[in-house]
Subunit: 383 residues, 2 copies
Amino acid sequence: MPEKRYLFTPGPTPVPPDVLAASAQPIVHHRGPDFRTTYGRCLERLRRVYRTDSDVLLFTSSGTGALESVIENLCVPGDRVLAVTNGNFGERWAEIARLHGCEVQRLDYEWGATPSVDDLTARLEETGGAKVVLITHSETSTGVVADVQALGTAAKAAGALVAVDAVSSLGAVPLELDAWDLDAVVSGSQKALMAPPGLAFVGVSAAAMEAASQLPARGFYFDWRRTKAGQDALDAPVTPSVSLVTALDVALGLLLEEGLEAAFERHVRLGRACRAGAKAMGLELFSPDEDRSAVVTALRVPDGVDAAALLLDLRDRMGVQLIGGQRDLKGKIVRIGHIGYFDVFDITTALAALELGLAEAGAEIERGVAVTAALEAFEHTKV
Amino acid sequence: MPEKRYLFTPGPTPVPPDVLAASAQPIVHHRGPDFRTTYGRCLERLRRVYRTDSDVLLFTSSGTGALESVIENLCVPGDRVLAVTNGNFGERWAEIARLHGCEVQRLDYEWGATPSVDDLTARLEETGGAKVVLITHSETSTGVVADVQALGTAAKAAGALVAVDAVSSLGAVPLELDAWDLDAVVSGSQKALMAPPGLAFVGVSAAAMEAASQLPARGFYFDWRRTKAGQDALDAPVTPSVSLVTALDVALGLLLEEGLEAAFERHVRLGRACRAGAKAMGLELFSPDEDRSAVVTALRVPDGVDAAALLLDLRDRMGVQLIGGQRDLKGKIVRIGHIGYFDVFDITTALAALELGLAEAGAEIERGVAVTAALEAFEHTKV
């Protein structure tokens, strides 16, 4: 195995050294003053990243747990939800709703397609509306980023609550819980927020919290009211992952110090650089060639190249971890994540490794151009 | 604030330096070879600690999440469960079962009492049996450790599945999933297993897994079958907390290197030392004066002493974090945890701080004897 490792996957993502160091601090008690200070500051920083004055509820879980909390707290069996699906994570949310006994209506797209507002409006009319519309902001499985603001407005116009999976977008792509009138926005620690995996969040509008409080509690661990009551008192209802919260607090401090707008601009430029480099090499983009989709670049594998073997070669010989497609896209695409703690040299390293791997696999690609094309796109584009 | 901090609470507990260092390793992808190796080894080590050949399912959550998984996977609304409660955590499990629509029968004890086999047998006869009996092994709120083997045998004789909350006992007190014929044993990373909080487990017997597979899945994140399928393939169904699993793997390695029997013996001697020191000082024990209850020592606060002020004084002036009572025991007891990464000098430090704090609070205690009594009890007792 090579000595140096490069993590270029769309989650988990690389974590800055200061954040890793914070995660290794000696454990403190979660009801003591040290942790309560950290906890309160971390929750406040989350609210700034979500751009909300409402609550951002924090759970020790993966993002999937927080997705499940949305269903558990907003729906009872029989409630109709409309799931907008265009990839693996939209499918997962729909499946969670089904398991909880919801009537799941769907607006299905091919994987890789971008959902449209007109389709959503039409589908909501057909189905007679829905209590909650489930939208995936950044579909990590394909690199597509949806226009959540417009989709959310259409869903609200039909009287639905708007729930958004922003696990791989929050902190990388503009998202505003309050200004866009979103109701439940899920994210996780291990993507653009630059912390280790293990924490998940849901930003909850006042309307969504009110809707939840009209229902009987149906669970304990992911119960919103219990969690809000604990957070309001800085007294977590269950033992939180003290180390991960401490790490996340440092990571959010770094993000807010850079500034959200600067971070969004950096991600746009990283996305342009990655796409420019890939295209210069002669590769076909699978994810859209647009600034909004600036967090994951999905590329079609050239004909005749075994994608699995290519990824193993990059990983085991070069120490460069990219990732392939999920489900039907397995073997057809490779994905380069550039979410969070990334600069342009991560992009050029990913492209250089890909160039080398593809050339050695016998693909007909243009050599010697990708890195420079990426550098130029990064430097010479204004957002 | 004092510079050095001493964490003497029954969870989270102190974490060894090697475990903290492991938690700060750069993030690797959860489907890559590095993590899969760690993940597989960690799961195998968990099975050794549980003393089982069955599955130990691992979740990113607090212990409460894994308690909820037991209800979610073994019960459907209307199923009867019998909750044996003698403290805060037994109450919590009963509440979780109620939220999930179970018919909750109870065998209630005063907080601080030890459940009896005869009572359980009689109660199961009265109620016409139960699908699942919920037992708390170590009731962290009071320091009582129940005889789970005997209680479990009685529950099995009545045809029930036996579910055990072993969050603060596993690794400190003998527990054998297979030999004692237990069905679902819950634990967490942050107690005797010497890792940061954020991971929880449930060891599941073949009978319990079979019972779960007879029911429709009712959730996603805590679903046992989905989790087992992922673990069997070393391909976690959701992104696990890579850092915490890496840390836990190191911590379990330390525990197994010491040896489980040696760890149990150490905990018995630590418990004897703590009780001997407290009694020498003239304090009254709240938790039982018996070897089985060797993980938390609960002490009655002398009349006239303000327990909250005492705990704040220890914490803020001396850097020594003990913890008070929960619910009705608030203000009446203080608890010293000695679970996991503890040696006798942690006990003497806790006792010395308590002696100093009580003396300054005006309590009539015997000075100058507690530390030596603890040292002697630790050294001169054979298990």
